[in-house]
């Protein structure tokens, strides 16, 4: 996005404030400068040279955004705030005005190719010794850093479900982080390094389908990677296909009230709303309920801010926890690892308990 396009968009903003009520950050902070329209006034002055790029308040105005796109959905003038925000991030990153935490994460990701500061070579440790790198593969399971290093049960659940469905797939120990965290910081050059690494794997293996159970990876692979001879699927799309073909059934009933949360990466960014609901609804005795605002209008949980403004990030899901509990939900399920982790933190702040589960793990248990 050029500077001229950005300035035109900033002048297009009507200051109607529709973004204000959709934005999780603004709802939490409350002040106008945290709203998109407020930020636009600040960005106008920045791009017109009346503010300094090195000002910490400029940096916070840019990075205190979950890039959840709720504002884009609500904006009557059709402004893509996230595109503007991303362009400003890339400029700030070039100028070095990013948070210390973001600098540290960048270094770790470049060196170890995961944000958890774990050795790259340990990426497939969760799978045990029987896994070997194949030379060719039709299906590749793109594990994600979270499933590979932090919540191995997600990866193990994928294995269990695929075994049950007879899906044969490969994993690669050359897999690197999809790069989504780097892109969110604005480090496009470093992001490109990870993209090149992963695309090389896809090509070498000759894969026809890359699937992942991580919403962030799925978004990056479908939105920010070059197109190739492979199809990219979220795992839930694959399961939904199996369900429609009559291949997927669940044996164990789940006589519980389950509330599904539309994470922003899988939802607003990628438009996957119905597949998780259809697959969940196939579990015997399950009672699916909804947040007041769901699908396109779902409110972001603040998860993307965990690595930059953790305190703010964990304040946001208190609203979600309260609503889910008030609605009598037994289980809050999300298809996004970041949402799941943030909901668990939000529970502590809300002082309320609800069983928060990852979608893939929940489905594996019911097979």
């Amino acid at each position: 996005m050029t500077k001229e396009q950005m300035i035109r968009d900033l002048y297009t903003c009507a200051s109607c404030g529709y973004c204000r009520f959709a934005c999780p950050i603004n709802k939490e902070i409350g002040f106008e400068s945290a709203s998109v329209r407020g930020k636009f006034l600040i960005f106008r002055k920045l791009l017109e040279g009346k503010l300094d790029w090195s000002d910490d308040r400029v940096r916070d105005a840019v990075y205190q955004c979950a890039q959840c796109e709720a504002c884009k959905v609500m904006c009557p003038t059709g402004i893509d705030f996230v595109a503007i925000n991303q362009a400003l991030r890339e400029e700030l990153a070039k100028r070095g005005n990013i948070l210390d935490m973001q600098k540290a994460v960048t270094e770790i990701l470049v060196e170890k190719k995961n944000p958890y500061n774990e050795p790259w070579e340990d990426r497939t440790n969760w799978a045990g010794s029987k896994w070997q790198n194949p030379e060719k593969a039709e299906y590749l399971y793109f594990m994600s850093c979270t499933a590979a290093y932090s919540v191995n049960r997600i990866a193990k659940s994928v294995v269990k479900i695929c075994k049950g469905l007879g899906i044969e797939f490969a994993i690669s120990d050359k897999e690197a982080c999809c790069g989504n965290p780097l892109l969110r910081i604005g480090q496009r050059e470093q992001f490109q390094g990870l993209v090149d690494n992963n695309v090389k794997i896809f090509k070498e293996l000759g894969v026809k389908t890359v699937f992942t159970a991580c919403a962030g990876c799925y978004k990056a692979l479908t939105h920010d990677y070059p197109e190739g001879d492979w199809e990219v699927l979220h795992f839930i799309q694959l399961l939904d296909r199996m369900l429609s073909e009559g291949k997927l059934t669940f044996k164990k009933p789940l006589p519980k009230k389950v509330i599904y949360y539309d994470g922003c990466d899988i939802g607003r960014h990628c438009g996957i709303y119905e597949e998780p609901r259809r697959v969940l609804a196939a579990i015997p005795e399950i009672e699916l309920i909804e947040f007041d605002y769901n699908r396109e209008e779902a409110m972001c949980c603040g998860g993307p801010l965990v690595g930059s403004y953790p305190d703010l990030a964990t304040d946001i899901p208190v609203r979600h926890i309260n609503e889910a509990v008030e609605k009598g939900a037994d289980i809050l399920v999300s298809a996004c690892g970041a949402c799941m982790i943030n909901f668990k933190e939000g529970m502590k702040k809300a002082g309320k308990k609800i069983d928060v589960q990852d979608l893939t793990m929940l489905l594996a248990k019911q097979m």
């Binding site: 002048y11 297009t12 009507a14 200051s15 109607c16 204000r20 106008e32 009557p76 003038t77």
Partner: protein
Amino acid sequence: MLAQRHVDNLKEIVGEKFVSTDEFEMLCYSRDLAASIPDDLLKSYGMIGAEAAVLPGDTEQISKILAYANRHDIPITTRGAGSWALGGTLPMEGGIVIDTARFEKILEFNENDGYIRAQSGVEWKRLVDLAEKKGLVVGANPSSGASATVGGYISTGGGAGIGLAEYGSVGNQVVSLKVVLADGRIIETDPWSTHYFVGNEGTLGIITEAVIKVYPFPGRKHYMFGVDPMGKGVELLAKATALRPYYVSFLNRGLLSMINEAKGHHTKECDLTISLAFNGTKKMLEKIDGQVKEIFAGTHEFDEEEAKEEWKERYRIGLAFKKLGPSLMAQDFRVPLASVKETLQELEAICKGDRWGAESLAGENDSVILAVMILADERDSADYIRKFAYAKDLGDLAKRMKGAPFGLGLHNAIHLNDLYEPRAVDTLKRIRKHFDPINILNPSKTTQARIPQEFINLSMMFMRGIPEVVGLGLKVAAALPSELTRFGLRIIGSGIK
């Protein structure tokens, strides 16, 4: 700049986290929906701008803030979503902006007695959405409901929007209000005192809670018709309005053409595109269906899915084309339904040469609120200033059509004497003085015209004729020390506090 001791006291009342004097924040709170009004113009108005922004968490905190401000003569500007284009929330006299963002709770849905109790910072869209999920319908609600707040709409009179043709204006829908008066007293209004606070634009007190009527919601049917020529469209609009639809709105050809261009749509363009929605039982809707079809026989009927889509877009449709500007000159005014045809004809002549469009919403008593929007580009200073002169042209047009500018705020305060008889103006001023003797609540608005009408009229003439010179003049005025500008404005009879 607000004295530090005042800031410290505010922090004492609401907590440090909820008070800001940061310059970025003050920039944001010195603007509202009409963000495209040039800085130079506001400076020429002698605007001081926000000196502190506060996010109180409950009514008692607002009470303490007002009691304090009243003792120390600090101006207070209350802000809901700042989604009104008349400068109603611009802190002309500086002081404290009270943002009601934390008043976001819907406290009670009472299905049996038919009311909702909500805090004043709740946005109408949420109120309407959640009520409908419970099988209830809200009467009057604003077309800017995705941000307009309960307190904001009630304070600005709620005389235009959705639901008005069926239920009347928001004043008819409010059962009671919780209000903080200028001296900090908290009152709960009764049916007799409620009306003081409907449409007073934050000059008599701050609304913190409202009890609003709701009705059973048995079902809804949507329609959209394209009608040519315009005169026939207006005639059919009047007939359809007589059926008391919940939603009635039209777009003229100019507006729909701009929406189509901006969104890449190909919606059939007619002189008037009329949208309707009726609430009722299946039986009632069947009866209405027959009447609607009879009225609009021979016109282009869009299928119901398209009509529903327009309904879903009701909050957004009026700004969907703004990127073509990227700025807009907009003016809302009320005209009797009987004058709509003539008004639209005159608009063609007035706006000739510029790209413009109009949409309507139902007003009270068979009136129509017309929102006229003219594309502009504020980055082209001379052209933008020239288009400012439309404010006078459209205001004059409204008067000729026996209508009136819609709302007062900052910009329309000059029309006060056109809207009310001298005795009524005097009464309004006395009421204001009674509720707020030292004039801390939203000063320089409504009954306190910032600049006398004669000067505005004169400046509008110059804006139309010699916009470059006016632009230069505004720059010079903006460069003057604020106190000098304000002194000059006082001499010419400004309502500066």
